[in-house]
Amino acid sequence: MNDQGKPRLIRFYEFQPVEKQQELVRSIYKILCSRAENVSNFVKVDSLFGPLVYKTFATLYFVFIFDNSENELAMLDLMQVFVETLDKCFSNVCELDVVFNFNKVHTILDEIILGGQVLETSSSEVVMAVEDISKLEKNSNSIIPSIPGWQGR
């Protein structure tokens, strides 16, 4: 989500109704914006199902919520991997990239995390897979005449 509390990407690995999702996003934003800079990245929130780790990159908050089968610091690393991957895919990623590439960001995330489990921790591997998928999509789309749309990146 961005620093205004607007969600940019939400992904749950266990089903949550939309209302619950929105409520969680709001409560998390409330907590995060009350925190000063230079404080720890971990927050324990009772209303969540696990500890939360967040990090600010430019105008964006990246937030992961995890359970006790994940290592706290490893989650921070994973976040770094995710951001690195985004950076590689969009070359100098900014908030707008995330905003306008809804599907692609989801694709990237899917390559890193599947069903709540960490799949891949090397950003170059992820980038390769994602590029592969993009090619595949282009090819499949070229069979059917494409109408201007989401391929325009």
């Binding site: 720890s40 990245n41 599947l114 069903g115 489990q117």
Partner: protein, 943 residues
């Protein structure tokens, strides 16, 4: 349909258009824009053109995900689109499905089964991976069941990219459909030996997830995990393996011994903080009995604490909290760092540090710690200040004030806390003050002092947060007025004009307390006067006699002092003399009259109060004054004669009133009522309508635990009236009035401080101490905390007795929870791992399946390197209740003595080999190893 569809296709807005549109919306018009877009989408999604449909669905998914738009209605369109041959369409459809389907309610999921199956067997890795990730998001039991065969194939796929995703996805399938474990588990285990880091990482992650839920089942896999722990150099994998061992080690002592060394090695060698942290956590949480390892870990913790990175500091404190449970020295060693962290800028760190500080509290340091914390609290922001206070109050009152030795200090401390400007813990302080008053006799003198200073301070009345505390203080002042140095001053404080700021319930406590003070003063006056005049009046005589035999507070002190240490004695004696002397000096007729007038003047206007509680109490007081006044005026001043009679009446009345109030309240156990023997002739189910005539305007508390309070009246001969006779005893008009009073005040004795305990009887605490425990007489058993059980030599003063009730007072009514239902997954895992012949509750019809399992069973010993696979008896497996016995022929390598488990093996050779070891191990098992003999026997590994 073709027309609009074509139009839609040509002029359809893309997702980018929507996003831009939403962004350009003037504030407030966003919902309108979204609604308009939704209308478009609804039309477009029905299109026969797949591209149009795909874009519509994409837009919808976006709106659903980030703007909370409902898209459950579009579920079928997702299914439709998923069958498209274009990967991009498939992706859109599957993404929509995984973001919006509810596995338990979306019924079209079943329609997706076929398509998923097709994609899982597709030749394109990305189709397969897409299907796998979708499956893991929307998995339900039916879907899992139907797709298990495909997953089984994928688990040994030649492409690591696919295989690892299949492994990750299988976790959800296991959760939804435990029977899948029987089919797939073997293949998953095989992957533990994969050389591909990606696969290994995922499979270890999978076992970590599984082991967190039910570790015991995975003990047999310990050798494989151990190998990874020793050989692997990938931090991600090591972290997961450590997590697994953290779960397994407590179950199997030998395991801890094996792993502790490599873990310490990793901790020392690694540069990665995450791995170091994980090693640390594993040691402190699961291997805490290995002193040297813990020392190493604590050293590492210290490094974290000293680091500038707030994250490490935070995590270090967390680790320390875990160590603290077993190794307090670790915290004490890092004390200064913890205290420093209390003033960190980060709230999390502060809280964590606070928790740690409180865990350090013991009898010896409680004062010091509280002092430090209070000074911190005064410097902190209100929120954290209250956090600190809450922790202090909680810790100090824990287990009946376990850590408090010096109650005088604690009581004074409570008074101090109440005055801290931001303090919002009034309720808690209130409860504790009253609780201490009732439980700790020796603290009362100080308590009264503290209460006095609170009540007397007009500034406090304006702060709503301390009203609760003031109520407690007022109650204490009234209840223990006999210990007060100056009842007059107290009365003034209780009636000061600013009490108008109090809430009605608190104010009524004030009035009631004033009443008690008044009665005490008049009684003392009467007694004093009687003594001075040396009139051998029977009634005044009886009063003093009562005193001697132990009804009144003051006498309690005397009787107490006999049993107490000198030090105590002096204080109490001091209090005694001071109150006695003050009485002597000030109790003149004028002062009493002044007091009565003061009360009348202040309470008079309140008789018309809207608040029933206040009105009620005020009328009581005024009624009493009405009765007393003429009698005080008349006879006491002049001399003898007819007026003697009036005087007697007055003093009798005063005495009765005084008796009512001098009955001491004590804590009462919840089950006390059951211990009350039913007096003869008491009809419990009698219609109580007569009572209503008396207590017509008294509202009974609606709580069901209410019971009538029957204060005992001590007569001359100190024997109490039988309870049922109580009402019929005194027959004069005034005494029946008093009975009414008694009822009322009894009922309202503790208005809000009641906290669930019903005061249905008073322990006769006025009697000499040795009698206190006399069970024959007492309805409530009081236990004294034994002073000898704890070493207290280092205290100047012995810890005062804290009255505790026998039955734990609702402390831990922890009801043994019924056994948790069997975890189906682990049941299945055990079956596979331990090679039991499957025959359980779960219906398995396929016999071919069975035979394949047999095959697996046979192969297991080969796969586990170095395993000495012992026989298995599985009697204690939860839930399934089967008891099985199966013998394997096995290879035994490097069997070392003393380490083997009990064997149910009938192989002659082995029997010979292990006979005396067996005996040994049996002894050990009897000696209380925490692995019960019947539990699944874990193969000895790596011996």
């Amino acid at each position: 349909m073709a027309g609009p569809s074509l139009m839609d296709s040509l002029f359809q807005r893309s997702l980018d258009d929507i996003i831009k549109g939403v962004r350009l919306c003037p504030p407030g018009t966003e919902p309108t824009f979204i609604a308009k877009s939704l209308d478009e989408i609804r039309r477009e999604v029905k299109s026969t053109d797949r591209q149009t449909k795909a874009i519509a669905l994409q837009k919808l998914t976006y709106l659903h995900c980030l703007h909370g738009v409902d898209m459950s209605w579009a579920a079928f369109h997702c299914v439709e689109l998923s069958s498209s041959s274009a990967h991009s369409h498939k992706r859109i459809a599957y993404l929509a499905a995984s973001l919006s389907f509810n596995p338990s309610t979306t019924d079209v999921i079943l329609l997706l089964t076929h398509q998923l199956r097709k994609d899982l067997s597709s030749s394109s890795v990305h189709d397969v991976s897409l299907a796998l990730s979708t499956l893991s998001s929307i998995c339900n039991p039916d879907l899992s069941r139907d797709l298990t065969p495909e997953l089984f194939t994928l688990l040994s796929s030649g492409k690591p990219f696919v295989r690892k995703k299949a492994i990750a996805a299988i976790l959800r399938v296991f959760e939804q459909y435990p029977d899948a474990v029987r089919v797939c588990f073997k293949r998953v285990v095989e992957n533990l030996e994969s050389t591909d880091v990606g696969i290994l990482s995922v499979v270890v992650g999978l076992f970590c997830e599984l082991a967190v839920k039910e570790p015991r089942s995975y003990l047999p896999l310990a050798p494989e995990f151990y190998k990874i722990l020793v050989d692997c150099r990938n931090n991600w994998i090591l972290i997961k393996v450590l997590k697994i061992f953290a779960k397994l080690a407590p179950l199997e002592p030998r395991l801890g011994k094996r792993v502790v060394e490599p873990i310490c090695e990793h901790m020392g060698r690694t540069g990665a903080k995450s791995l170091a942290f994980e090693c640390m956590m594993t040691i402190v949480s699961s291997l805490s009995e290995y002193e040297s390892a813990v020392k190493l870990a604590v050293g590492k913790v210290r490094e974290f604490l000293l680091d500038d990175d707030p994250n490490l500091k935070y995590l270090g404190l967390q680790a320390l909290t875990i160590v603290a449970q077993k190794h307090m020295w670790a915290v004490l060693e890092n004390k200064e760092l913890v205290v420093k962290a209390l003033s960190d800028v980060d709230v999390n760190i502060k809280l964590e540090a606070l928790r740690l500080v409180m865990s350090m509290v013991s009898e010896d340091n409680v004062m010091e710690i509280c002092r430090i914390l209070i000074s911190h609290a005064q410097k902190s922001d209100p929120e954290f200040c209250n956090e600190i206070l809450g922790y202090i109050l909680f810790t100090c009152s824990r287990n009946f004030y376990e850590v408090i030795c010096d109650f005088d200090w604690y009581v004074a401390f409570l008074g101090e806390v109440a005055r801290i400007p931001h303090c919002q813990k009034g309720k808690e302080i209130e409860t504790q003050l009253i609780d201490i008053g009732m439980r700790v006799k020796d603290a009362r003198l100080e308590l009264v002092d503290v209460a006095r200073s609170l009540v007397i301070d007009p500034a406090l009345l304006g702060n709503a947060f301390v009203h609760g505390v003031l109520a407690a203080a007022a109650w204490i002042s009234g209840e223990y007025v006999a210990l007060s140095r100056n009842p007059f001053e107290l009365m003034e404080a209780l009636l000061q004009p600013r009490t108008g700021l109090l809430t009605p319930s608190v104010r009524s406590v004030y009035i009631q307390s004033a009443f008690k003070v008044l009665i005490f003063c008049i009684w003392s006056y009467g007694k004093l006067n009687g003594d001075d005049a040396s009139e051998p009046s029977a009634l005044t005589e009886s009063v003093s006699k009562c005193d001697l035999e132990g009804t009144s507070e003051t006498v309690v002190c005397e009787s107490l002092s006999d049993t107490e240490v000198d030090n105590e004695n002096m204080i109490i004696a001091g209090g005694q003399t001071s109150s006695a002397s003050s009485r002597k000096y000030r109790l003149t007729k004028e002062s009493i009259m002044g007091l009565v007038n003061l009360v009348e003047a202040n309470l008079g206007p309140l008789a018309g109060s809207d608040e029933v509680e206040i009105q009620e109490r005020v009328s009581n007081v005024l009624g009493f004054i009405e009765l007393m006044k003429p009698k005080l005026h008349g006879p006491l001043g002049d001399g003898e004669g007819d007026e003697m009679k009036g005087k007697l009446e007055a003093s009798e009345m005063v005495k009765l009133m005084f008796d009512v109030f001098s009955e001491e309240l004590g804590p009462v156990s919840l089950s006390a009522q059951e211990k009350v023997p039913l007096p003869d002739g008491l009809v419990l189910k009698e219609n109580l309508s007569d009572l209503e005539a008396i207590c017509g305007d008294v509202k009974f508390p609606s709580s069901t635990s209410f019971s009538l309070i029957q204060p005992r009246i001590l007569e001359k001969d100190t024997s109490s009236f039988p309870e049922c006779n109580e009402e019929s005893g005194p027959s004069t008009e005034s005494t029946s009035l008093l009975a009414e009073h008694r009822k009322r005040h009894g009922l309202y004795y503790l208005p809000s401080e009641n906290k669930g305990t019903t005061f249905n009887d008073f322990p006769p605490a006025h009697e000499p101490q040795d009698k206190t425990i006399d069970e024959a007489e007492d309805l409530v058993k009081l236990t004294e905390e034994s002073l000898t059980s704890k070493k207290k030599q280092n205290h100047i003063k012995p810890r005062p007795v804290v009255v505790k009730l026998d039955d734990g007072e609702g402390l831990n009514m922890a009801v043994e929870k019924s056994k948790v239902k069997t975890d189906l997954i682990s049941g299945a895992v055990r079956e596979v791992l331990l090679g039991n012949e499957p025959m359980t509750s779960s219906s398995r019809s396929k016999s071919s399946n069975k035979s394949s399992k047999r095959r697996e069973v046979d192969r297991i010993p080969e796969s586990g390197n170095d395993i000495v696979n012992t026989a298995i008896s599985e009697g204690s497996i939860a839930g399934s209740g089967r008891r099985k016995h199966q013998t394997h022929s096995k290879e035994r390598k490097h069997l070392s003595s003393g380490k083997e488990k009990e064997q149910h093996d009938h192989n002659d050779k082995q029997k010979r080999d292990s006979r005396h070891h067996k005996h040994k191990s049996r002894q050990r098992a009897e000696g209380g190893i925490n692995v019960p003999v019947q539990s699944p026997v874990i193969p000895d590994f790596l011996l």
